[in-house]
């Protein structure tokens, strides 16, 4: 089993004259949570969409467990899953119906048992027959995470998974994800604007700005290495960089 669950090489996305992602390369290891940080418009979601196969790169390669996404899409995506605040599950299906639908699409074996285990893990047993549209934000986030773990993905993409949650629920969600990663064989790429959260869960962060990776390192030591007191301060400095001055952070 390879250590790398995700390998991105020279990934580039151009929209006309705009270069949204500018030749980035990075890797995510098994049992590792990597934070993908950057200001709005830095290219984080564009990068995630390319890894999810819903946006075609202009150039570059993406490999999930050494499977090339472009040529072995179904196999690569069967090993991937995601949760994002902007992609809630259909509100007109119940929790169990949604999980069964996506479980079948991901080809999950022994699906009924897997759904029961996830309902229990995410405290969703009471909501099993509730339509997702009437759940609270926190409950919907938990359902989204249950769906994201259905296929026991090697690569888990989490795009601001705790946005719009109160601090207590956000901490609970972080804990569950961390437990899952420590217990299994998953690598996580996590985007967030909450630097406290990033320091709490990520072993490594990538700072993205103007489509390029400007910094990479341990979120607990990176600020001091660049003369800053906190990760948030470093974030603001990097966010204010112009494309021509990437070395000044």
């Amino acid at each position: 089993m390879s250590l790398k669950v995700l390998r991105v090489r020279e990934l580039r996305k151009r929209y006309g004259a705009t270069l949204a992602v500018d030749g980035i390369s990075f890797e995510v290891n098994r049992n590792e949570i990597v934070g993908l940080l950057g200001p709005n418009g830095a290219g984080k979601t564009t990068t995630i969409n390319m890894i999810l196969g819903v946006l075609e790169p202009t150039s570059g390669t993406i490999q999930v467990e050494e499977l090339d996404l472009a040529s072995r899409r179904a196999e690569a995506l069967a090993r991937t899953n995601f949760a994002a605040v902007y992609a809630p599950l259909p509100g007109n299906l119940t929790v169990v119906q949604n999980l069964r639908f996506f479980g079948m699409i991901y080809g999950v074996k022994d699906l009924a048992a897997r759904i029961e285990a996830l309902l229990e893990q995410f405290d969703l047993l009471a909501f099993r027959n509730t339509k997702c549209g009437v759940l609270s934000s926190g409950e919907q986030t938990r359902v989204g995470l249950a769906k994201a773990l259905l296929n026991r993905p090697a690569l888990l993409l989490l795009d601001e998974p705790t946005a719009s949650l109160d601090p207590a629920i956000a901490r609970e969600i972080r804990l569950k994800i961390r437990e899952y990663v420590e217990a299994g064989h998953t690598g996580v790429l996590w985007t967030s604007h909450n630097m406290y959260e990033v320091e709490d869960v990520c072993q490594r962060v990538l700072f993205l700005s103007h489509g390029r990776i400007l910094l990479e390192g341990d979120p607990r030591t990176l600020p001091a290495e660049h003369g800053k007191d906190t990760l948030e301060e470093l974030f603001i400095t990097v966010a204010n960089e112009t494309p021509d001055q990437p070395e000044r952070a």
Binding site: Y15, T45, T46, N49, L52, G53, V54, L55, E56, R73, A74, E75, L77, A78, T80, F82, A84, Y86, A87, P88, L89, P90, G91, N92, L93, T94, Q97, R100, F101, F102, M104, I105, Y106, G107, K147
Partner: protein, 272 residues
Amino acid sequence: MFSLRRVSAIFLRQFYLMQGSPARVLPLFAWVAIDMVTWGFITKYLNAVSRSGFNFVPSLLGAVLLWDFFTRVMQGVTMTFFEDVWSRNFLNVFATPLSISEYLSGLVLSSIATSSVGLATMLVVVTTVFGLSFFFYGLLLIPYLLVLFLFGIALGVIACGIVLRLGPASEWFIWPIPALISPFVGVFYPLSTLPGWMRALSRLLPPAYVFESMRSIVLQQSASRRDLAQGLATGAALDVVVLFLAGWFFRSIYQHALRTGLIARYSAESLS
């Protein structure tokens, strides 16, 4: 590798949505039943006032039934697709191992189920209330339904492509499509009634061969079995071509959506 399990997931999702949703279940049979009743009484009235002794039931009511079947097949495909549009589910669905051919197969499977309900309802109404026996058309009913079914699937897939490309608001372009086509395929009148340019277009539309064939049986015209078979074979061959073009069209739109990021940001007014 093509997965039947993924195809059946699309069908199962549609079944879940139907469960306990009168707004989805009622249209499967209510409108076609109303159509059959309305046209059934119109044909009875025409039979009563016509002095020719011509029976309008198998020609008019039979034609309406077949046309409604075609529109139900098309809508069976588009309605399943619209569920993903309305629930903004494209990102969740297309960021999975599901392939386009599996997705489209799921839409077709759902359409088979929903259009079968409509067909069964219509057959019950016209047989029990208006005495239209489909033995009248003999075994030709099977190729009639098949040609119309394939054309309905093809148009449904094209319609999905249009909505994927132009955004949710463009679903209003989709509903009138059967009405736009109907004058060209001669649902109610022989193609010879049409001007030359319309007849030329009719020859490209598979349903035209069904309705011409049906009329020749009803009117007991001297068309030979060979001519009837040839006409329907042409219709079926055109269906295959249109189906191929529909698949190509949807795939092209999907590839465009992947390049531009349309799938990832598909929302209420996405037009690019």
